[in-house]
Symmetry: C2
Subunit: 426 residues, 2 copies
Amino acid sequence: MKKIGVALLGLGVVGGGTYQILTDNHQNIKKNQGLDIEVLHIIEKNTQRCQQMGVDMSIVSTDIDKVANDDRVHVVAEFFGGIEPAKSYLIKCLLNGKSVVTSNKELISKHWPELESAAKKGKAGVYFEASSVGGVPIIRTLTESLQGDNILSIKGIVNGTTNYILSKMDGENQDYATALKKAQELGYAESDPTADVEGFDSTYKLSILSTLAFRTKVPIDIIYREGISKVNKIDMDYGKAFGYTLKLLAIAKKVDGKIEARVHPTFIPSEHPMATVKGSFNAVMINGDSVGEVMLYGRGAGALPTGSAIVSDIVFAAKKTKHQYSSFKNSNDVSLKNFSKDFKAGYYMRMTIIDIPGALASVAKVFAKNHVSVKTMQQLSGATEDRVNAIFILHKTKESNIIKARVGLKQLECVAGIEAIIRVEE
Amino acid sequence: MKKIGVALLGLGVVGGGTYQILTDNHQNIKKNQGLDIEVLHIIEKNTQRCQQMGVDMSIVSTDIDKVANDDRVHVVAEFFGGIEPAKSYLIKCLLNGKSVVTSNKELISKHWPELESAAKKGKAGVYFEASSVGGVPIIRTLTESLQGDNILSIKGIVNGTTNYILSKMDGENQDYATALKKAQELGYAESDPTADVEGFDSTYKLSILSTLAFRTKVPIDIIYREGISKVNKIDMDYGKAFGYTLKLLAIAKKVDGKIEARVHPTFIPSEHPMATVKGSFNAVMINGDSVGEVMLYGRGAGALPTGSAIVSDIVFAAKKTKHQYSSFKNSNDVSLKNFSKDFKAGYYMRMTIIDIPGALASVAKVFAKNHVSVKTMQQLSGATEDRVNAIFILHKTKESNIIKARVGLKQLECVAGIEAIIRVEE
């Protein structure tokens, strides 16, 4: 029986979940995987938490050198989050030949190249299934399946907090502030919700997934980002009437050899499989040139779902006789010519029009001038008698055309305001 | 660069798709996977098909010994379908140290133990991602992810033909015969559709998936099987009114340490993610004790989706320095004490009641006597004035109770007929 020594850096939510799975399922993993996994070290300041979890306190310390210098340790699982000290600690362990497993999406999206470089030197591996969409095996699908496919696109609901908020706004008629408050009460959202609601968390995950899918480093700073904090419930309702459901989507596509990557509120057809992904669930749809559309769905966060992915990576790493490294130039120093500055989407636009003769003709003229074609238009009663709410569903066009059209529209006397522009993916 | 010699046994739909992917994506696989994959042999009688596919005819033959005795061949991919000659050919190749990749679900569900035994002798591997749900990486998810989870259940729409037919009946108001005919015209159903519509194909796949999930051989003959040929559109419509959608589900669960496995038409809540799986798409939901619910969705059949899984397995097998074998007793000679004879489900029951005083009370009495509890009941106008259609939605109970209740109900004077019993999974 192969003995595998493990160190856990941090015993918070996911660290605790991992410890629990390794303890509860120890015999099963032994029997099914032929691995006798033992937790040899826990690096955690909060000794009370360790006691609550029933940990043997003699393995708890705050000294990373105990881990890095222990020859019995094969795999180090990190749960600190953030960049430091996680990065220095992991590099130290990698250089000493210990494989690293992490759920730290910020670290992987920003510093995978450095970690991989240390891993190569130490002949160790870096595994991060848990960093993207919790227990859902999306990383393994990209690395161990679809090897013969050219990936054309990835679209995902990769953040449970925002999906919970949007589901509440959609299903229970709550406005953004109420839904956010509810999410905070339930522990789905942090007291400072910025990382989730402004889309940062989604860009980390999209960076990781699109890098693996397109085998080109996609740094977070080339990803267009727009969160959900400015979403109005009224647009979700109007969209619904046109057959759309609003989701915060992370999208990466390869178009004409260039990669586009973006995170923003997106209308998708209500009968699309991703439209039915509710609450804190996540889903990622991959489109490959051979396999077509494949979607993976499940819990993107939580102690046990994320812990499940960590344990899977520990087993996966422990069984490797030789670790694999990326077959592309894995560096944050990328050429911008690999990436699109512009992209194409459908658009939903809501504006307030002053009801004067020829108003609609003027609007239509600005659209036409900027190569924007109207698919559907609907006028709804507005705030006052002389104003109407006009909803335009626009055919697929370049984002740059929409930006130009918006400038033109704002100059029109009959346009009192453009209240919402939401991208549409069919 | 590692050179990998491949032999294709058969160049039909999936064999052709595989050949196409290996040809079109040859350079990409070389670059991304570090493998130079060359097709060295094609075993195919239909030389015309080979010519149409643009194959170098010097590699086409009908002689398996050419494959088995060629030291340059590392992986043999089989597309014959059925048991023989596939089984003998593959065993011959395995004994000679060639790994085997196959989409042959009947062969794997019936003869995996013999194939694995030959593989062990030849130090080769048997890979069958393509045998279940085409390009969807469900096998890899069970073997390379979720290693720390105890799988509690698997539920899946694993047959595209029947899902296409049920979707047509549901969405386009067609009866079973019309929908089947349409499926046959489009090539989704065979001229003899028995294997699909009577659920045999689904039992093969469920046998494979549940064997991997529960690490116990689940032979096809212990799987309860009921197809869709007796499904009435009227029950789909009535079910819809109660919030249910009808699917042919393959279900395997571990309950009180015993495995239950069954394939039958099933009502699921219309808001369940699997209810939105339309047309020829497939989906499988796995429930693990740590990960919770994970669903995989995609195309379960077709030249390129299934070819994608075959190519993935070829790459996966080619990269293995040592093949893994099942960690459980892999034998068709199983102890029946591992399997439940009975199972629990919710039920939908439609019967014709003769409208005499006390009729409903008599029916209710039979249910109560057999531990069947009514959740909802609705009476609808029947064929004649003195007869009503009664729909009962029954709480979760043992199948054996329902069978006994049905016997009791049939003996009642007021029950003219029991037209439909459909299981409900929440």
